[in-house]
């Protein structure tokens, strides 16, 4: 009997020990996050002011800003969304509505694989597709690269949100004599809207920080650019170029740009979280 008690004690100690260990590891996991945020906020806040946000980059020695990168990021994301959202939306509807079709199954698994393709590879491909024929780095090529990266996420979120819409809703609409396309557009899409929008916003926040696909497409540009066939700067590109430069002045600006980028991404993530919770329609 004494032996049993001893063994039980041992097992309990073992259990406590395990709990402690995974607790410690879970907390340790948080440390880098706080480290990173601490450094970015500390160094970034020191660099940001109105001048920094609204003026163009200047040569080393003069205090310049990053306005062209902020505008460039918005341009890139805007055009990428224009390309990706309609395509992904219709593809998502297709794989939901024709689920049993072989093409739909193929599209579905190819989208999963596209999500795993390294972003630098997409950069290469857009270089081959657009930069080479046009003979110039361009806003367009960068936007296409980002659009390809957005596709899988929007397709998947459209598919999953449409699947949550009850079949009876669709049947009710069809039974009333509503044509199929109107049923999809006016009944099913609105019913799935919160999920789809969440997916779109998350995909935007994901590509907003992408650098690798822009290295040889959008390329970067020290000036403001509004034309689609010229290179354009973006926040991640600017951070990369400034952070790897030897000038402490530029490095300081890179911290500022990092903070702005993190704020942009966090705002998008918070909006998507908010929509997921407050806007959700349940059936």
């Amino acid at each position: 009997m004494n032996d049993m008690v001893k063994k039980l004690k041992l097992r309990q100690i073992q259990d406590k020990l395990f709990t402690a260990i995974i607790g410690i590891f879970s907390i340790a996991m948080l440390l880098p996050l706080f480290f990173i945020l601490f450094y970015i906020i500390k160094n970034g806040a020191a660099a940001i002011n109105w001048h920094f946000i609204t003026s163009l980059p200047k040569p080393v020695g003069q205090t310049g800003g990053i306005s062209n990168a902020i505008v460039g990021t918005i341009e890139l994301i805007g055009i990428a969304s224009l390309i990706a959202i309609p395509l992904a939306l219709f593809t998502g509807i297709y794989i939901k509505e024709f689920e049993k079709n072989k093409l739909a199954a193929a599209v579905s698994s190819l989208t999963d694989l596209l999500q795993g393709v390294p972003s630098i590879v997409i950069g290469i491909v857009c270089y081959l597709w657009i930069v080479l024929p046009l003979k110039s780095f361009s806003l367009l090529s960068g936007a296409v690269a980002l659009a390809i990266m957005m596709l899988p996420m929007i397709i998947k979120s459209t598919y999953h949100s449409l699947r949550l819409v009850p079949e009876s809703l669709k049947e009710a609409s069809l039974a009333l004599g509503t044509p199929y396309y109107r049923t999809v557009i006016k009944v099913m899409l609105p019913a799935a809207a919160s999920g789809i929008l969440t997916g779109i916003i998350l995909s935007v926040s994901r590509v907003a920080g992408e650098t690798a696909p822009l290295l040889f497409t959008a390329f970067g540009n020290p000036f403001m650019n509004f034309s689609i066939d010229k290179p354009v700067n973006s926040l991640p590109l600017l951070i990369f170029n400034y952070a790897t430069s030897p000038f402490s002045d530029w490095q300081k600006q890179a911290w500022g740009a990092s903070l702005i980028l993190i704020i942009m991404i966090s705002v998008l993530n918070i909006i998507s979280k908010f929509m997921e919770h407050k806007w959700k329609t349940t059936y």
């Binding site: 879970s26 093409l103 999500q115 795993g116 630098i120 590879v121 009944v187 920080g209 690798a212 290295l215």
Partner: protein, 310 residues
């Protein structure tokens, strides 16, 4: 659902002419199919373009491309072995570092603390970590981690580069922890409650239930989670590029500067002069694409079998 209003009916379908309606229906279906086919074409197109782009280098070097260790643009000989080694060693090391953390937090989140402020904080932090762009990880690594590793190297008596395989692996580990953790948590949540309760009813401690019931049940999913995390680390570009040191020689130890497949593309692509040089870089891209394809295909298949929602 008040979204279908009377107005819709009056202005819409009911008064539409039959033939017009059929045309619209057909057009809509065609549009859906066209979008789906476009998506297929994009993925196929990526593969075909990479293959065509790297044709010159495939012709010139053949399989030797992967086994040769000289990467010398001036002499026009290109071998990718140093980069393959750089990529494989950084991703493996990153996995090794990240597994205890992601595993612990996944178990903690899914079995110990299902709610409460600490699990909320943990979940929020995992999401926040996953949202930070890789360029910022690289930037932080370059300015904070590299000096730490450098002083570490001085103590150990290695050449104090600071940048190198170890630094890149640590950054990669930090980046894949949230991904692997949320993946593993999803899988662990799928373990049926009654199995666990049966274990507790037999008098098993929580540790014993996890060791003997939860992990064996979820092992397939955990394995594919690790595989997908590996796929992530494999193709990661910016963070690695900034801290790996960009040396084209085969690394001697984990402190040596090196180059990964992705980072060599990032560094040299825009400066590549000559068709063969460019084509060799594209072939590295093709290799990355192929490996990610295989890793993700296996990982997704296992996940799908287990019915894990991503």
């Amino acid at each position: 659902m008040s979204r279908i209003s009377c107005k819709d009916y009056r202005s819409g379908s009911l008064e539409e002419k039959g033939s017009l309606r059929i045309v619209k229906e057909t057009l809509f279906r065609l549009l859906l199919v066209a979008a789906a086919i476009t998506s297929v074409f994009i993925v196929m197109g990526i593969f075909v373009s990479l293959l065509l782009g790297s044709w010159k280098s495939i012709n010139e070097f053949g399989l030797n491309f992967i086994w040769s260790s000289t990467w010398n643009p001036a002499a026009k000989t290109f071998g990718a072995l140093p980069f393959v080694i750089g990529t494989v060693s950084t991703s493996f090391l990153a996995l090794l570092i990240s597994i205890p953390f992601s595993f612990a937090s996944a178990i903690y989140l899914s079995l110990y603390l299902k709610n409460g402020w600490f699990s909320g904080l943990l979940k929020f932090s995992v999401e926040l970590l996953a949202g930070i762009p890789s360029i910022i990880y690289g930037f932080w690594g370059l300015f904070v981690l590299v000096p730490i590793v450098r002083s570490f190297e001085i103590k150990l008596g290695f050449i104090p580069y600071g940048v190198g395989i170890l630094t890149a692996s640590v950054i990669l580990a930090v980046m894949i922890i949230p991904f692997a953790s949320s993946m593993a948590a999803e899988v662990i949540k799928l373990v049926p409650q009654d199995l666990k309760e049966a274990g507790f009813a037999m008098g098993a401690t929580r540790f014993e239930v996890i060791k003997n019931i939860v992990i064996p049940y979820a092992q397939g999913g955990i394995f594919s989670g690790i595989l997908l995390a590996f796929g992530r680390a494999f193709g990661e570009t910016m963070a690695v590029t900034m801290v790996i040191g960009n040396s084209n020689a085969i690394p001697k130890n984990i402190f040596s500067p090196s180059n990964s497949m992705a980072s060599v593309i990032a560094n040299e692509f825009t400066e590549a002069r000559g068709d063969l040089y460019l084509s060799s870089l594209i072939e590295i891209g093709l290799l990355l694409f192929a490996i990610s394809f295989i890793v993700n295909a296996i990982g997704n298949r296992i996940m799908k079998k287990m019915d894990v929602k991503k």
